[in-house]
């Protein structure tokens, strides 16, 4: 009996050793669960994330375009804003966005907190102002109490709002994909085809930009490196932030985590399928024409990057009070 226990312990220890070795050797690391989380802020941030009263219309919330039922995106090429305005760029996924080196395709926000205030006040998105949004929140007694509980202050301000939303977003990581299980030592987590796809992904050079825990998100790179990318949208990426001509068409490399769920692809959402995206990337970024078989293997690998999706209780929002300013969805 004692021997059995010791053997089991040795097996477990060697399993642990195995579990840690592959990740260390590979250019992609497993997604870690969120740490140092303030649960009070998370619960408040979740409500705010789902609350359309942060928009002029009372209809658009963060979750409208970064829909947590759909890979943290809206699955359309460009988002729908106030009055059905067409957005200028594809909505990036909110999943694992805490791992990005900066937020937005051009990295103009340094972190999630800086990002969260943007869409609320963007006339083409939620079309509100921070002042009006705070006015709404301060008129809702249950929000006033919850902000006070979480932040210990008598007044709500936009810094608290964006901090709470960012804290909630930090929890939106997707560990435990089959690929991560493989990285952590579960050798049969991937099929032969998927492993061949991963080998191609590395050997062809995709991994030069798509690496790290998020398989991307950690650098800006030129879209159209070998061949220019022809886009129907005007966005020129990083140069809008730096003012440098050299940064034209430099975009943040998107994460490939959950990429099966985050179609359509690229900053303009022009590629509807992974097959098309892999083909375009090969040609434009690597000067490489993947065969149909190679493409299918890479796609098979990419689909192993889908992790555990957020397991959320839908928040119940506190009701407006008699003094809450009402949304104006149809006023121009």
């Amino acid at each position: 009996m004692k021997r059995t226990i010791i053997s089991a312990a040795i097996v477990m220890l060697s399993g642990l050793a195995l579990a840690q070795t592959p990740a260390a050797d590979e250019p992609i690391q497993p997604i870690q669960r969120a740490v140092n989380i303030d649960l009070g802020m998370v619960e408040l941030g979740k409500k705010l994330y789902f609350d359309p009263r942060l928009s002029k219309s009372g209809f658009i919330s963060c979750n409208s375009c970064h829909n947590l039922s759909m890979g943290g995106t809206d699955n359309i090429p460009s988002s729908i804003g106030d009055q059905w305005q067409q957005g200028p760029i594809n909505a990036p996924t909110v999943l694992n966005s805490s791992l990005n080196l900066a937020q937005f395709w051009d990295g103009r926000a340094g972190d999630l907190k800086a990002q969260a205030g943007g869409p609320i006040a963007n006339p083409g998105e939620m079309a509100f102002t921070h002042t009006l949004a705070i006015g709404v929140l301060e008129s809702i007694p249950a929000y006033v109490r919850e902000f006070k509980l979480v932040f210990g202050k008598d007044k709500i301000d936009i810094e608290q709002v964006t901090a709470a939303i960012a804290e909630f977003e930090k929890t939106l990581v997707t560990p435990n994909s089959r690929f991560d299980q493989w990285l952590l030592g579960k050798h049969d987590a991937l099929t032969k085809t998927e492993l061949e796809g991963y080998a191609l992904f590395k050997d062809s050079g995709c991994v030069a930009c798509h690496n790290g825990a998020a398989v991307g998100g950690n650098s800006f790179q030129k879209m159209g490196l070998v061949e220019p990318y022809k886009s129907s949208v005007a966005a020129e990426g990083r140069s809008a932030v730096t003012g440098q001509d050299a940064d034209r068409f430099n975009f943040k490399v998107p994460t490939l985590r959950n990429v099966e769920l985050t179609y359509p692809y690229f900053h303009d959402g022009a590629a509807n399928t992974l097959t098309e995206a892999v083909d375009t990337m090969g040609r434009l970024q690597l000067g490489k024409k993947f065969t149909k078989e190679e493409n299918a293997k890479i796609v098979a690998f990419l689909k192993t990057l889908t992790g555990d999706q957020p397991n959320l209780i839908l928040p119940i929002l506190p009701p407006s009070s008699d003094s809450t300013p009402r949304p104006t969805p149809f006023a121009k």
Copy 2:
């Protein structure tokens, strides 16, 4: 010890007797939890309820206008449809809608299943067609498998879609409001003011229409009985269904369950607050001008009708496949 158990049993029994007596004597009955539920259909229906791919734009789902975070409504006077079209009438709450004698303000759908197909194909709402919606669902392998599991058929059809959504909606009842606790024998569940409000609600005649488990929803009544109701919307209610002139301005009496959450009020959403709604109803339906104090008491009673809100895990929707027709949010 034995005596204690017997005494406890007697207390429980008498508690039970008490629990059943008030409800039987009152014109309002407690909300019952859902029974005879097919959980496979419910889970499928929940996904469909949250899936914007049932709309032309890929942006609007059932939950957009019947938002389960917000009392099963959108909290705006009239809903936003495809291309930001303004809806003709206020979106009624989906909560406890299984208790309604018919669906829609004019009762044109006999039950939830008949209702569920309406918005999908309404050009002013989701602006899709049943055929196109089925085409989308049939292109998504995980949906194909789930429909087959639930309905045992090889083909998906609109009858299955609406049956699943209706089954999910049957679960959206809100028992356990403070008022129901009182009905069931918890004598201290209501304050003196709330009880006085309930007495006024009964004695003034509100209860003539707002009765039963849903506190409404079980008859059609004329809006503007004593004084005509002046509305900015064109809807004339039940006459659109019956063709009878006598039915003009007859609308389904809305449920008052969760009425604190389902603002704005009336078929045109013209009343922003409960105070205003109670005042208007008193004058137009009962020929009665409530004092400020009476009005406040009735409002206090109405707020005790908020029950347990749906406690839902946000569904994760199965991804589209390469062959799924893509939404066309910006195509006219």
